[in-house]
């Protein structure tokens, strides 16, 4: 991954974390800095998805690399956590840690392509726009058939149960579960593909 690409995605806007988490960030980071295991579990629960999504964009849709970088990010946070007074500053620090972890993992994984990278580094990389993932999910959802979109929205936005959805769609519960799984995989693959080709 080029330096230009990793730097540019720093400006990326991802869905904000809940205000409750934001208000408690000072206490959480203080406990983290003291080495409190419960605080680390809490931090992991709050930031796992957000960091994963950030790293997916940084690694341009390479999920394996994003997951490696994610592991490394959590290790680095555990090793060097310190207290932060605001969520905004904490998230900025986390992004720097995650980006550096991604760069280091990328270096390890992509040593083979280092020469190629050297040749292409000077070229201006096309980087994801701000809010790329948010835009991508909206775009990919719009590509679904209306009944598929209704199923996904019903399950993941409206909180409908499989039983309710099966009644609404006139399908068996097993069929609903199967379609949901397939749709989720399809959406995931489309988003990762778009990140790669963007």
């Amino acid at each position: 991954m080029s330096e230009a690409a990793t730097n540019s995605v720093l400006a990326l806007r991802l869905p904000e974390i809940s205000p409750a988490a934001s208000s408690g960030v000072a206490g959480l980071t203080r406990r983290l800095a003291r080495g409190d295991e419960e605080a680390f579990r809490e931090f992991h629960g709050l930031y796992f998805s957000r960091l994963h999504q950030f790293l997916l964009v940084v690694s341009r849709g390479d999920d394996a690399q994003a997951q490696d970088a994610l592991q490394e990010t959590f290790l680095r946070v555990a090793r060097s956590a310190r207290a932060f007074e605001s969520e905004e500053v904490f998230w900025s620090w986390l992004k720097v840690v995650a980006r550096n972890a991604a760069r280091d993992c990328g270096r390890r994984q992509l040593r083979y392509f280092s020469m190629l990278e050297r040749f292409t580094r000077h070229a201006e990389a096309v980087v994801p726009n701000e809010g790329a993932l948010g835009d991508l999910i909206e775009e990919t959802m719009a590509e679904l058939e209306p009944d598929e979109r209704k199923l996904v929205e019903g399950k993941y936005l409206e909180g409908d149960t499989v039983q309710q959805l099966s009644t609404e769609c006139g399908l068996t519960e097993k069929a609903v579960e199967s379609r949901l799984l397939r749709l989720r995989r399809h959406l995931r693959e489309r988003i990762l593909h778009k990140l790669k080709t963007q």
Binding site: F48, S49, A78, I137, L187
Partner: protein
């Protein structure tokens, strides 16, 4: 679609069961690193305490050595204070006198002078 709805969908689509292994591994790895950090900090603190204790204790250990040296030093001959009478009694039958200021007096044998004069 609102930002919240996008987040909900992204969490569901990108963070499904496929991530369960990574979720568990990153949690366990992080906790291990956290424990190591805590242990390192404890070890560092223990080292500091031991070092401080050594710094405080070492001079005290040396002190008895100096005391021994001080005690060993005055191995010079012992003196016993005696009176004039005791001094004269040490030389019975001799003519003698104490000459000089108090504290700097010398014992002079008068009969020796006589002998010398003769």
């Amino acid at each position: 679609m609102t930002d919240y709805e996008k987040k909900q969908l992204l969490d569901s689509v990108l963070g499904g069961d496929e991530l369960a292994g990574a979720r568990q591994a990153s949690l366990e790895g992080g906790l291990r690193a956290l424990r190591r950090r805590r242990q390192g900090r404890t070890a560092g603190l223990s080292f500091l305490i031991v070092a401080a204790a050594l710094v405080l204790l070492l001079p005290q250990r040396e002190q008895p050595v100096t005391v021994v040296q001080e005690q060993a030093a005055p191995a010079a001959p012992k003196f016993e204070r005696i009176t004039k009478e005791q001094l004269f009694a040490l030389f019975p039958g001799r003519a003698m006198a104490l000459v000089g200021k108090p504290g700097e007096q010398e014992l002079v044998f008068l009969d020796q002078q006589q002998t010398a004069n003769r």
